[in-house]
Symmetry: C7
């Protein structure tokens, strides 16, 4: 798992996309050619949670280390220390692999 030096804001989450080999090993096959399919990856950083109207922040339901499935077209791609990562909002995460 990548160790990164960025902290997302709000309910944003930084995900390291799974490589094709890892994905197959985990039993969930998401071939890179199937561009419309959701993507699998590992959470490497999480934000403080969404600021609620009450002034407190909503607790995130994913944590660093979780393997998640997310829509391929949500979020933004960034490159940190040569790694391609993705910054998404929690609402772009579809499910956790357990």
């Amino acid at each position: 798992m990548a160790k990164i030096n960025i902290r997302p804001l709000d309910d944003r989450i930084v995900v390291q996309p799974a490589s094709a080999e890892e994905t197959t090993a985990g039993g969930i096959v998401l071939p890179d050619s199937a561009q419309e399919k959701p993507q699998r990856g590992t959470v490497v950083a999480v934000g403080p949670g969404k600021l609620l109207d009450s002034g407190s922040r909503g607790e995130l339901t994913v944590a660093i280390g979780d393997v998640v499935i997310y829509g391929r077209y949500g979020g933004s791609e960034i490159e940190v220390d040569g790694q391609e990562l993705k910054i998404l909002r929690e609402s772009d995460i579809l499910a956790k692999v357990v």
Copy 2:
């Protein structure tokens, strides 16, 4: 019914689409060629419910094992252990078959 190792977030639901034969047997005919028609399937995983403004989560009205009818164009398709499944939000579920 498929046993799967993913947990949807929020009010999302994982559905295993009915095959053409099952659909006919249940009396509800949804031919695959009728692409604009809603689809029938079985709920195989449910999320914790939508986070409400009060901080609690809304109770889902569908449960694992329910047979549901849902819009064909909502949600995302994923493939788990060789099965084609669909992740939808509860609001994409039109009705339960009882």
Copy 3:
């Protein structure tokens, strides 16, 4: 009136569209060629009502057996036991025939 084995979610309503003959008999003429005109039908199933912010559900103002007028383009068509039905939200219902 059709007896059906599906239960709509939320404030959804299942309507059996009136055939051309019934429509004429009731005095409200909605010719099938006038595609832009609202449609008349009979309510055959209703959902539990819309979930309100308070946690309770809003009471529906239509009931099984009501004859209703609804926009032709709202909702989804489904086929149950050989009958073509329509699933609509209550807000797509324009009026009741009394």
Copy 4:
């Protein structure tokens, strides 16, 4: 004024559009060729009012018999007993003629 056997839902209102002669007599000229101009008509049925968040219904500010001016492109046209009527929401009504 038409007597009709339909009851609109929510804050919907059924209006009988004024014929060209009536319109001229009332001093408000809305020629049929001026398609972009609002239309004048008489209210023949009103709904129970909009359901508010509090659970009560908002009181309508128009009543059966009122002559109203409304946008030509809002609402839906229906035909009851051979009469062409219009179902609108109260918010589509611009003004009352007094």
Copy 5:
């Protein structure tokens, strides 16, 4: 100023557009050819104010007789007793001339 027999609903306002001569006299030049420019006119009727969530109505900040500047493309044009008037919502009024 026109005396008219219509009462706008909600926060709507009826304005009598200024003729080209009046506009010039007031020092604010809004040539008719400059179609993208706001328009100047006199308020001839006002509604009861917008219905608030609390059930009361918001007080309007313009009154009959006020000279106002409004966006040319907002609202609807109506013709009453041979006069071309405009029905706008209060939010379409940009400023009062004082």
Copy 6:
């Protein structure tokens, strides 16, 4: 600074756009040819503030005499006593020059 006889409504603000010379003198260069760049100007009139749900009005954070930077495409242009002015909402103001 222009003295004008109009009072904006709500949270609207009237700005006198800076001429090309003034802009350069202040160190902020916003050439007229760079049409996509924000514009600099001086506030010449302010509204009473936005009406809040509580019934009171939000205090504006700009005052008459402030030099502000605003998006070129927001608001409406008006001509008062031969001067070209702009009416904007406070939310269209990006920053104050201090």
Copy 7:
């Protein structure tokens, strides 16, 4: 770091975009040719925070001097004393570099 004489409104933030060399040194490579990638920069001015419904202002989670990553297409570009800066809302900031 640039010292600038402008104060953003609301939850706006002024960022000095990193030059290509700085970006490489920090380990986060965001080549200018990759136009769809987020951009890195240093916060040089912050607004008072977003006005909440309660009347108070939300505390910003970024401060002057923070290095931030932001979407390339958000915000507006301004030129102050010959420097190209960007005015963004806090919600356009994806992450802080720590």
